[in-house]
Symmetry: D2
Subunit: 477 residues, 4 copies
């Protein structure tokens, strides 16, 4: 296959939302930050959509916030600072609605049917207009989603640079920055056996080159974190896999990333995003504990944190709350991919989270963690395939932000009301004893404990009060 053909193939496959509009909207020569402050600003991409504002719970307007009030202070911090919401470029601007049985369904009016650099730039402008209308200051990106893959690494880098340059310019005068960037190491066939864990050494090198560049541009744009998404780092069957070798390679790769981060002076956090499976049968960063074990085994535990995604949590058999707490207790809670799955399906649906109870538990963890900065909440979430109106993009994000905002409000209510914490305190009250302290300080050996056990006789065991805990929890929402 010739290079040019391969490039065209990628055009077809990656974007898959083109050749669509015969008459694209006129693309403005410049789009600066100022206009977004004006209420009557229409913008070039979403002229029908107003700036989204807080209107409170009683509004019937789907294009308004009911619970998210960016500037409102909660527990001494503005709501926007608790969340640091981020829009995921790939889902919002490159999501086509394709699924394993279906072609693209989404034909956004700003698409011109090409995967050209100029189209990439127009899309980036749309992104900034979207962020501003939504009132969100962060965005996240994959390198190959914001700029077209070229037929060579050099060409891909050049494409990326051109789009990054525009993003840099669009950021000017605004607070908008990348929450994080990443290298997309899973779409292209070269990565079919993984990137850092590929059976082919040439692919490892290619992946390293791609991550190097992605780290550079994230740094250049003022990104606050850099994410490693396991993508295809895993296996389909152990029969043809040398898992030990692959894990060693992955560790070498991460070591090189740490070294390069330091070399270029990037101060952001490096994040690993656990996911149990899909597309591979088994991903090496299965869940928070698995990722933590890997980092400890290879001496990398102080160099990385975790990006916990709620949908990945449930796919691995845990609640999102559990994964957040596991990360937190291991000192590794770095960022949250705020989405959710479907409780009855076995794949990653990446839905916007709408369950207020789950959001409340998430925020209970975040409050315990003292906030999430320099991480934030990235909406790694996509419209359903059948949601094809431009306004659906806004509705979905508003719904997700409002759900998280309700979660924060509820978590604070529970905290301030106090009876749930009191219930937990009471449950463990026996540990405040002399013996409790001795044990916690490592001073109680088995012989001493046996002596104590014999003195005590049958220990008292109290009700766990789970139904009461649930009643308190649910009554707060």
């Amino acid at each position: 296959m010739k290079k040019v053909e391969f490039f065209m193939l990628l055009l077809c496959l990656i974007g898959a939302s083109f050749l669509v509009s015969a008459d694209p909207p006129t693309c403005p020569a410049d789009l600066d930050g100022k206009c977004s402050d004006s209420d009557d600003w229409q913008g070039d991409f979403f002229p029908e959509i107003p700036n989204i504002k807080y209107e409170g719970p009683s509004t019937k307007n789907p294009l308004a916030y009911r619970w998210y009030n960016a500037e409102e202070e909660i527990l001494g911090k503005k709501m926007k600072d608790w969340f640091r919401f981020s829009v995921a470029f790939w889902h919002t601007f490159r999501g086509t609605g394709g699924d394993p049985f279906g072609a693209a369904t989404k034909y956004w009016p700003w698409e011109d049917g090409t995967n050209s650099v100029s189209m990439a730039k127009r899309r980036m402008r749309a992104n900034f207009e979207f962020l501003k209308k939504l009132g969100v200051d962060w965005w996240c990106f994959h390198d190959r989603d914001i700029a077209p893959d070229g037929s060579t690494l050099e060409e891909s880098n050049k494409n990326l640079d051109e789009v990054i340059e525009l993003a840099k310019e669009l950021q000017k005068g605004s607070k908008i920055r990348p929450l994080w960037g990443t290298a997309q190491l899973f779409l292209h066939p070269r990565y079919m056996h993984g990137g850092a864990t590929s059976s082919e050494v040439g692919v490892y090198a290619y992946a390293a080159a791609q991550v190097k560049k992605a780290m550079e541009v994230t740094h250049y744009l003022g990104g606050e974190n850099y994410v490693f998404w396991g993508g295809r780092e895993g296996y389909q069957t152990l029969l043809n896999t040398d898992m030990g070798k692959e894990l060693d390679h992955l560790a070498r790769f991460f070591e090189a990333a740490v070294a390069y981060k330091k070399k270029i002076g990037f101060k952001g956090t490096l994040l690993i995003e656990p996911k149990p499976q899909e597309p591979t049968k088994h991903q090496y960063d299965w869940d928070a504990a698995t990722a933590a074990n890997f980092l400890r085994k290879y001496g990398l535990v102080n160099e990385f944190k975790l990006n916990i995604e709620c949908n990945h949590a449930t796919l691995s058999g845990h609640t999102c709350h559990h994964e957040l707490e596991t990360a937190r207790l291991n000192g590794l809670l770095g960022n949250i991919d705020a989405n959710t799955g479907d409780a009855q399906t076995g794949w990653d649906t990446d839905q916007f989270l709408t369950d207020v109870g789950e959001a409340t538990m998430v925020m209970m963890s975040v409050i315990k963690n003292g906030g999430i900065a320099p991480g934030g909440f990235n909406f790694d979430a996509k419209l359903r395939r059948e949601s094809t109106d431009v306004e659906d993009l806004f509705i979905a994000h508003i719904s997700g932000m409002d759900t998280m905002a309700r979660g924060l409000r509820n978590a604070v209510k529970i905290l301030e009301e106090g009876s749930l914490n009191e219930l937990v305190r009471k449950r463990y009250a026996s540990w405040d004893s002399e013996l409790g302290k001795q044990i916690e300080e490592g001073k109680a050996d088995f012989e001493y404990l046996e002596k104590k056990a014999k003195e005590f006789g049958e220990p008292k065991v109290s009700s766990a009060k789970q139904e009461l805990a649930e009643m308190i929890f649910k009554s707060a929402m």
Copy 2:
């Protein structure tokens, strides 16, 4: 509640297989090792069951081995030494057939309907007769299953001592030893919130005293390992749980166990048995990687190994093969609980493994590990509730042993035939290059790798040949 009543309550609940036979068989005054060598030995408990012998694959006799031939050498080691099969006392002699919706179904003829020490001793004799007829040299036990729980710790210990003394005597003149012992910290209501992770400090002390004693008796009987089964070390809801505190307590507990092991001169391996859930919603030793992370975090990774159970593996979303390999690659593969689950049900069914493919993969790991000693294969497996004939106990064990034996034979066949290993070798051949070595030695930084990637151009990526690997694998069985 008075003590005596509580004791009666425990009688009812723990055993649940009593008051059964009005006319128990006469219990022999002594049962020594000699008689088992005689073909016409009938024994006192299983008079209808012959000594189980190898008859080869063509036999129609359900009370014979088709594939397990204890003394046959495979890869320079006798089959019995590859496996070190062990009978689990609790399932085989205390399994009642009860389930969440049903009462006991199993009324073995040697039971007299009491949970007395004398009944416990008779049961222990049955265990030894069973081991001898089956031709198995190891057994595993829970403290409270081999001897009745008393109304005080002292009384429980006394009961245990009496039964242990008999076991010691029965072991004499035979090679029979415990593969491992453990303390059962889950049945009694005092452990409803866990043992080492209980919210009640008194329960922690009680658990320590019980483990101390169980370690002592395991050591006394010449046991080669000691297992910690997480039982109820976990949570039902995070709403009422201080997970950080509980995990710290668990670490303190393990540290004390390590210290005590050294103090009493026990040389066996300490083993943690991962399990994701059931009875708790979440167990702290979820899977091999989670347990490894815990051990690393608390500096215990050199003091413990893992006891991998196949049914627990599948409950946690992994294959058994995956869990074994994860343990092995972390240097933690210590013992195997050879059982399996049901692929369509969501709870621990603890079936005897009958899938030859799965057994083959298990044995591929064990061969890579150079064997499993001082661990072995414990049949943590139970008869189905509806299997109520005494011979069913033998049939189930024979079937499990034969399955594992086929697995070993197949694994060796695959190894010796060579084409599967060759397929894997070829898949990673590019790593034998200069660049491969540089990477593996940590000498390839991102800049060097980028340079190489640019030199190489688009890397070659070969077929993973998964269908061929599966064809080779399946053709060997």
Copy 3:
């Protein structure tokens, strides 16, 4: 085994919450309906618990209703008539806290440690006091849970009669009636292969005799429905099962039940309760559609309805809402077992439902169904094993009732607000066309449709607006 011994064995196994209190409370000679109307009524079993009253959402009292206000009218019907809440005798009064790994944990003060008829009667009095304090008019029972199993069918029937006579007397002067009764065909070992689908014909006959009696006593007490719980009607493996024969037997059994119902003049509804598995690997009444197919195949579809349990719905891979709608659309929605499962565990946890969103969807179905009478909402739900205070029994029921009440309030709010219905109406608006009508009336054959398709050209397809639907739905709660 002698009969008396077997009886003692059952004593131990069935109840498992006895021998507990050395000093049981004095059991009152009579407990009539009057006292419950008085605010200062203490009762004999729950002296610390007041009559539970509606106090509104702002109360902090765990022993009060926040959302359930029995007499309040909603959509022209009192709340209590929408729900017809029922307490499940077995969970509330016979639940011991036992699980597959643990003994009983619940020692209620009114238990005297026996499984005698007199204890059964005292328990029945406690049931009526519980119902009155909770303000609930219905209860559900299994025959063997309200009265001790005897050593013969005759003795069991006699025990049952004695307890039923008391229940009849306690019902007098009150509105309390059984919502439904059932025969418990799963605990006793005789039912290990099933009841109506047992491989033993004698067990089929025994099951028939037991159901006959249970139908009689349900009728005698004025019960409004009779339930068949599949229990062990299913299989563990197809290898030893003749599924066709077993299903035919089940049909014969149901036919005989219908005939007997008519003979004794019982006007209540016969209900089948779908459940996919547990304790068996596969239950024949897997889900609503499976049960409907069975009923249609054997010509029984007009004689039965379904009792949908939410936890069973999720175990079978569906939402509760789906199962309710499936039952409703098949004309088979008869009763609801209001509980829920744990989204991360694979067994029946029978928790009280606390998810307001799920409760809202349940109530949307019930409103569409025009209510659920003569069925109701039975709390087939149990305290967690670790919840051991008497007040926990009340808290759990209050929490469950309040959750359902919020669901009703939310469902009505959504209905009255109208925009969700409007969204659905719009989605299907094209079916209001001439062609839509022709199709629905069966008048559009393929040739005509092809002609139309060619006339139309590419059809218009609108956004499904799922995110908007979810926003509207969630904003109502």
Copy 4:
């Protein structure tokens, strides 16, 4: 969007395996049936691949059958007649290796990078060469996979006709016929809400037109069955769905299909293929019992049979064996999609079945059914994404056919050995009694049964012998 652009878009999306080979192999002017009989026939598409022959279990040749011996007689029927194996055109010739996270990986040498009619015809020639080399007489197709979708229905039909004409010609002189055809109603965005159950009436009409044409061409080619794959007939959320209306529409659609089948004189079986979910959250033909209930409810049960797919069976929580038996007992077993899923992943992996135990159980059902004709075994199975060699296509099919052949051989061995059947016969022996007959004939009412139960006393209940059944089963393979 202009028509021509939309057509190009579809080109990109549907096939996604193009622009690949700069130098496609010369396409032969004619390829008739004769050459395949010659051993030295190379063919035009697979010149490196010989005709696949039976070489027996000891061969090391991956391109030979070990167990499948087409002409060998088993139980009075040739192996090829037991199976009637079919190659699925879509997986084998249109499978690109794309997955939700990855682009196409498969670049077959005969592809020229277009989705033109001429490419479709070349692919059809490859299909026939593949069938002949494999020695398989049946193939299955989706209309839109064998011929390119046009910009109008008329154009699509014209494209289809051209390809069908070639297929007809290629069939000449050979025994090759379609096992079944179907209309692909899921890929195109117009079907995003379903086909027959779409919320848009125009889509219903379009779907009808497409099915009409697909039935016609299946009939024209001598196809023996016609399949309805539920595709997107289901819902994503009940919140925006009128399930009752959609199910009614589906019934109307099937009624029209039945009428049209009769009108054109198509004698083949109409088949519904149950699948629980994916791509929709819930498919209306969830499992065999659900589909059966639908057919019964709408009076269609005599007009349809079921096409059972093993991977769909496990996704719905059943074994494949269970679904086959459920279909058989409902008189609905029509065809088998011989594939399998991954026991640890929650989506449709459509792997070639390699589990001999599962294959044996499948064949036990087929033998009980007296064979499967006019249905057969269609390999609705695909190469893994990472399997990219042309020979992998052969290896996968050979492995799948050999697995089924082993299954048949084992099933016959078990049947002829007899002890498993004997075990089952004994288990139900009590039903051969007088009482058993009375019950089965509907002559035993509850009063009679109660009388019998009292006469019998406690019924005898025997061991289910599940472990013995498993031992017998496994020993045969």
